[in-house]
C-alpha cells in the first residue's frame, strides 16, 4: 500500500518526515494538503515516463489534426487537386518526396499525400472522441439507473445490456450503413457523394455508440450495486437528499476511477474501429481523407510506392499503441493493485 500523501510532495513543502530530526521548539505547522483520489492518481501518472511519452504522441496527433489546414497551406497543397501532370502513362508518380510534395503524390489520381495524411488524422480522432463521449455518457447514466433503482428498471436495462453485448457488432456495422443511407436519401443506388459521405459519417458514429455503451453500463451497474449499500448513501437518503442529487453528487464522484479507466481504454479501440471499417469500405468514403481509405487504396501499389502504404499504417499503429499504453498507465495510476 502506498502512502496517501507522497513523501516527495511533503518534502517539497519543507517538512521533514523523520520525527527525530524534525525541528522541535517552535514547531512548524506541517501544512497538510487535502488531495482527492483523482489528484493522487494524476500525480502518480505525471511521474510515469511511459505515460507522459504516450500522452506527448497523442498530443502530437491531435495538433496535426487541429492544424491540418495550416500544415497543408504551409506545404502549399490541398487534398483534392489532381496532379495528373506528375504521373506517367501507367498512373505511377514520376516524383517521390519533393519540396513541393513533401510525401509525394498518390498513384493514379495524383493527389498530394502530405495534405491527405494530415487531414486524415481528423476523422479518426473526431469519430473516436465523439463515440467515446456518447458511450461514456449513456453507459454511466444507464449503469447508475440500473444499479440504483433496482426492480423492473434494473431488469429491463440489464436485459438490454445483455442483448446488445450478444449481438455480432461487426456484422451490424456492415449491414446498418446500407439501411441508414436509404433513410437519408430517396434512392440509395443513385445518391450523390456528399449525401453518402454524411450518411456514412453518422451511421459510423451511431453503430459504434450503439454497441459501445453496454460494457461500461454493466461495469457501472456493478459498482453502484456495491456502493449503494454503504453508509454515506444511507445517510444521504435519510437526510432527504433528492434521488437526483444522491446519484450525481454522492455516487458519481466515487465512480470517477472506473469511468476514466474504461474510457481511456475505449478511445484507441474506436480509432481502430473507424480505420478498420473504413478499410473494409463500410466506413467513411471518398473524397474524405482518412487513413483507413488510404491504406485500402495503397494495397495495390505497395511495391511501387511503399511510402503511400506505410505512412498511414505507421501513423495509426503508433497512435493506437501510444493510446493503449497510456490507457494501461492510467489504469495502474487509478488502481494501484494492478500495477506492473
Amino acid at each position: 500500500m502506498e502512502p496517501l500523501i507522497e513523501e516527495a510532495a511533503l518534502e517539497n513543502k519543507g517538512a521533514s518526515l523523520d520525527a527525530m530530526t524534525a525541528p522541535t521548539g517552535e514547531a512548524k505547522k506541517v501544512k497538510t494538503q487535502h488531495r482527492s483520489p483523482t489528484q493522487i492518481a494524476l500525480a502518480r501518472l505525471r511521474k510515469d515516463r511511459v505515460a507522459m511519452l504516450c500522452l506527448g504522441i497523442f498530443a502530437f496527433f491531435v495538433l496535426i489534426a487541429v492544424f491540418a489546414p495550416l500544415l497543408a497551406k504551409l506545404e502549399g497543397q490541398d487534398t483534392t487537386t489532381l496532379h495528373q501532370d506528375l504521373l506517367d502513362d501507367y498512373g505511377f508518380p514520376t516524383i517521390s518526396a519533393t519540396s513541393e510534395h513533401w510525401f509525394g503524390i498518390e498513384p493514379r489520381l495524383g493527389r498530394d499525400l502530405f495534405a491527405r495524411f494530415v487531414y486524415g488524422a481528423r476523422p479518426s480522432l473526431i469519430v473516436a472522441v465523439t463515440v467515446t463521449v456518447i458511450t461514456a455518457f449513456v453507459g454511466v447514466v444507464m449503469g447508475l439507473l440500473a444499479g440504483f433503482m433496482g426492480g423492473w428498471i434494473d431488469r429491463v436495462i440489464s436485459w438490454v445490456i445483455d442483448f446488445v453485448l450478444s449481438l455480432p457488432y461487426l456484422l451490424f456495422a456492415i449491414a446498418v450503413p446500407a439501411v441508414i443511407l436509404t433513410l437519408f436519401v430517396e434512392d440509395a443506388t443513385t445518391a450523390d457523394t456528399s449525401e453518402v459521405t454524411r450518411a456514412r459519417f453518422f451511421s459510423l458514429i451511431l453503430v459504434l455508440s450503439f454497441f459501445g455503451w453496454a460494457s461500461l453500463a454493466r461495469l457501472i451497474r456493478g459498482e453502484v450495486l456495491s456502493l449503494r449499500e454503504r453508509e454515506f448513501i444511507a445517510a444521504a437518503k435519510v437526510l432527504g437528499v433528492p434521488t437526483r442529487n444522491v446519484l450525481f453528487k454522492e455516487l458519481l464522484p466515487n465512480l470517477v476511477a472506473p469511468i476514466i479507466i474504461s474510457t481511456s481504454l475505449a478511445l484507441p479501440s474506436y480509432i481502430v474501429a473507424e480505420a478498420g471499417l473504413t478499410f473494409l469500405g463500410v466506413g467513411l468514403v471518398e473524397p474524405t481523407p482518412s487513413w483507413g481509405l488510404t491504406i485500402s487504396n495503397a494495397t495495390t501499389y505497395y511495391r511501387a510506392d511503399p511510402l503511400y502504404l506505410w505512412l498511414p499504417v505507421l501513423a495509426i499503429s503508433i497512435l493506437v499503441l501510444a493510446l493503449s499504453l497510456l490507457g494501461d498507465s492510467i489504469r495502474d495510476a487509478f488502481d494501484p493493485r494492478t500495477r506492473r
Binding site: 445483455d162 442483448f163 450478444s166 449481438l167 455480432p168 461487426l170 456484422l171 451490424f172 456492415i174 449491414a175 446498418v176 450503413p177 446500407a178 439501411v179 436509404t182 433513410l183 430517396e186 434512392d187 440509395a188 443506388t189 443513385t190 484507441p268 481502430v272 480505420a275 478498420g276 478499410f279 473494409l280 469500405g281 463500410v282 491504406i295 494495397t299 505497395y302 502504404l309 499504417v313 495509426i316 499503429s317 493506437v320 499503441l321 493503449s324 499504453l325
Partner: protein
C-alpha cells in the same frame, strides 16, 4: 442444474427472436422503399412488383415479420420473372440480386469461416499457452519481459494492419485461396495457411498473457509446493500439476473468443480474399442486397448466442465450484 440450463436456453431463444424482429424492422420496415433498394439500379416495374409481392412488402409490418418466421419454420415461395422458386425450410429470404435463396448462399460461406477460425484458434491456443507457460517458468528474466512486451505491442497494433502487412509481404507462403476440405485436404490446408498463421500469431499474444498470469498463480498454490516437496520433477510439476489447473480460465476465454471470431473474421477474409460469411456480407453491402444482410446478421447472432450458451454450460460442468445463482 437442469433448471439453470433451461433458463439459459429460454433467454438465448428470446435474444435470437428479438434480434430477428429488430433486424427485420431495420432492414424492411425502416427504409422508405425497401423493394426499390433490393431491386437495384436496373429495375423494371415487373421485377419491382415481383419483389413487393414475394416479400409481402405491401402487408403490414407485423404480418411481414410473421411470414418471415414462417419462412424459417416451413419455407416459403418466391416468384421471380414469372417463375416461382421454393425456398426450403430454414428460409432466410431470397436474394434478388444474385437469384439464389439466402440460406444457400450463407451455407456455402459458413465452412470457409469455420475453417479459418478452427485452424487459427488451434495455432493461437497451442502457441500462446506454450509461450505463456515458458514465460511463467522464467518469470522476471529478460526473456519473460521480452515475451510480455512483444505480446503487448502485437496486441495493441490494429489487427487489420498486421494482417495486411503479413498478406502483402509474406509472399513465401502458399497463395491464399479456399479449396473445400473434402475435395483436397492438402490444398485446403495450403490455401488457408497464411490466414491461419496471421490469425494465430496475432491472437497468441493475448493468450501468452492469459496463460502466463494463470500459470504464475497455479505455481504459487499449495498443491504445487506439495508436488515439489514430494520430489516430482520440475517438468512434471509444471506440465502435469500446474498446467491443468491453469487451463480452466484460459479455456473459458478461448470458448468466448472462438464464438467472437466466428462472426468477426471479416478482416481476415477480406485481406486474404477468402469467400466466408464476412465477405458474403461485404458483397451484399456493396449491392444493397438487404435479404442477404438480414440473413447474415441473424445467422451471426444465432451462432454467437449458441456458442456463449455452450461455453456457460460447459464451464459449469468443468468447474464444480461455480455456483448457479
Amino acid at each position: 442444474m437442469l433448471f439453470y440450463i433451461l433458463r439459459r436456453v429460454v433467454s438465448a431463444i428470446s435474444v435470437v427472436i428479438v434480434t430477428v424482429v429488430t433486424s427485420f424492422l431495420l432492414f424492411f420496415v425502416a427504409p422508405t422503399d425497401p423493394a426499390g433498394v433490393i431491386c437495384g439500379p436496373k429495375c423494371t416495374p415487373d421485377r419491382l412488383a415481383d419483389i413487393t409481392r414475394s416479400l409481402d412488402l405491401d402487408q403490414p409490418a407485423s404480418e411481414q415479420i410473421l411470414l418471415y418466421f414462417k419462412g424459417i419454420a416451413v419455407g416459403r415461395d418466391y416468384s421471380t420473372g414469372g417463375v416461382t422458386r421454393h425456398c426450403a425450410a430454414p428460409c432466410l429470404g431470397y436474394s434478388y440480386v444474385l437469384g439464389v435463396p439466402v440460406t444457400q448462399l450463407l451455407a456455402n460461406a459458413v465452412p470457409v469461416t469455420l475453417s479459418i477460425v478452427v485452424g487459427g484458434a488451434t495455432i493461437y491456443l497451442l502457441f500462446g499457452v506454450l509461450i505463456g507457460t515458458l514465460a511463467a517458468r522464467v518469470r522476471g528474466t529478460t526473456l519473460d519481459k521480452a515475451a510480455v512486451g512483444t505480446s503487448l505491442v502485437i496486441g495493441s497494433v490494429p489487427y487489420f494492419v498486421v494482417a495486411l502487412i503479413i498478406a502483402l509481404y509474406a509472399t513465401f507462403l502458399p497463395k491464399s485461396q479456399y479449396v473445400p476440405f473434402f475435395d483436397n485436404p492438402i490444398a485446403w490446408a495450403g490455401g488457408l495457411l497464411s490466414a491461419w498463421l496471421c490469425l494465430g500469431l496475432t491472437n497468441s499474444a493475448s493468450y501468452t498473457r492469459y496463460s502466463r498470469a494463470s500459470m504464475i498463480e497455479a505455481l504459487g498454490q499449495d498443491f504445487t509446493r506439495t508436488a515439489r516437496s514430494k520430489g516430482i520433477s520440475e517438468r512434471r510439476v509444471v506440465y502435469r500439476h500446474g498446467l491443468r489447473a491453469a487451463m480452466t480460465p484460459v479455456i473459458t476465454i478461448f470458448g468466448v473468443d472462438v464464438a467472437y471470431q466466428l462472426v468477426n473474421t471479416i478482416f481476415t477474409e477480406r485481406i486474404f480474399q477468402l469467400p466466408g460469411l464476412g465477405m458474403r456480407l461485404l458483397n451484399a453491402f456493396n449491392q444493397y442486397d438487404l435479404p442477404v444482410l438480414m440473413g447474415g446478421v441473424v445467422v451471426g447472432a444465432t451462432v454467437l448466442v449458441l456458442m456463449n450458451l455452450a461455453v456457460d454450460i460447459f464451464y459449469t460442468v468443468l468447474d464444480p465450484r461455480v455456483r448457479l445463482g
